[in-house]
Subunit: 227 residues, 2 copies
DNA sequence: AATGCTTAGATTGTCGACAATCTAAGCGTT
DNA sequence: AACGCTTAGATTGTCGACAATCTAAGCATT
């Protein structure tokens, strides 16, 4: 059993109140996980019968998906799921490098001592799981690690941009390109060094290491692509 | 007459096709410029009569405003214009520093020689305008400068995050705090050095200078705040 | 055969009405 | 007087229908 931080759980437990909320979350899940394929058209009438809600609800959900760049909408024409391209992936990781680098810097400044010690113990748990070969939870652990640092930045704009926006697109790329648990061992060392920098309150180093970590990750994924 | 780049014009000329488009742009303008005050409630029925469109149109416009963090919506309660706080401003500028720094780095890599030379001539025009005391156009020139670099990054994600999201909030802060044309002379020198780094294709330096430029700008605005 | 116009079908955009939920005023109880 | 419950009013959420727009098939022309 992996340890998922309460902070993270709080954010993951996106309480869907309205029907539009639930439809949005469901559609986002289906798109990210490839149930609805990239570049496919999202017909409002079709989806409204499929999810048994009115077109207005579907429209609102699609608009939100458009806001986080998972679909592209054209006036009087309709919405399509974004298509995954090599250039798009590179650009996405450039943004991620920039934002998560800043997040690591701010985390080194703003995380409480307790949060940092929690982060350290998470890393230990993560380490033991990797040892015992639970590669599935390994990815959850990786996500949890990054989420904690992002939340640790205490910067609401940053958190929203990454968790509501960028991250779902990243996950879509990872899922659909079949990159579930890449670079297990080296990534772990990188995580360790980042946490060390944060523990030392070394903002500069934390940012730099996080940026390199994401850069490596990008190169790794890129090398597995041919097109 | 200030020179506005064609690239910028293209992005500014947001062609509003549907009624929801126009309403969104109008509402955004009114919020950014303070016609609708921070923290005020956005009643759907009230706005629908005021702008003479249906509630559905208003709802879509408000949802888009919510997506770019100009309003906050609560389920079954309604939407309010965001309130401007010192902490919010600082966090916003941290994001801006991160993203625009990356934009400058990528601009140094991806701008064409022609675009760079255009940027240089813009800077000259800008300089002469400052000399003749046209402080109004000075700000437009500043915006144009930053826009060109952002567009020069050629990174669609980055461009969208900054121009559709962050920038309108920044403008809202600047307008409502009465900071129209701050730091004329020093900012110009900073712009000059950034362009120089881009001309030399020095990615590292371009990013660093842009980050410091925005950091200075933040400190300058912050010093003018008391609350 | 290729091109351009016309039209039928389907899709999106907009609207007004009804249902579900929240808010605040009024009443009663302690 | 303070607190909690009930209820009326207003606001948001959802729905189905109509209007505006796009798309593609079919026909006419060159």
């Amino acid at each position: 059993m992996p340890v998922i931080s309460p902070l993270l759980n709080e954010y993951i437990e996106e309480q869907a109140i309205t029907s539009a909320d639930k439809t949005f979350l469901q559609l986002r899940k289906d798109i990210v996980e490839g149930v609805i394929l990239p570049s496919s058209k999202l017909s409002e009438t079709e989806l409204s019968t499929k999810y048994t809600v009115s077109r207005a609800v579907i429209r609102e959900a699609i608009n939100r998906l458009s806001a986080c760049h998972l679909v592209e909408r054209k006036a009087n024409v309709g919405a399509r799921v974004v298509s995954l391209t090599r250039a798009g992936l590179i650009q996405l990781y450039q943004v991620r490098e920039s934002l998560e680098g800043m997040a690591a810097r701010l985390a080194a400044k703003n995380m409480s001592d307790e949060e940092i010690s929690d982060l350290n113990s998470l890393l230990n748990t993560h380490f033991h799981e990797v040892q015992s070969g639970e590669s599935y939870y390994q990815e959850a652990g990786d996500v949890d690690f990054h989420y904690r640092i992002i939340l640790g930045s205490k910067n609401h704009h940053l958190i929203s941009l990454l968790l509501d926006g960028t991250y779902h697109l990243v996950r879509m790329y990872r899922v659909q390109l079949g990159m579930s648990g890449p670079r297990v061992t080296t990534a772990f060392d990188e995580h360790k060094h980042i946490v060390q920098a944060i523990s030392n309150r070394d903002e500069e180093l934390a940012e730099m290491l996080m940026r390199r970590h994401i850069l490596y990750s990008k190169n790794n994924i890129e090398s597995k692509l041919s097109n």
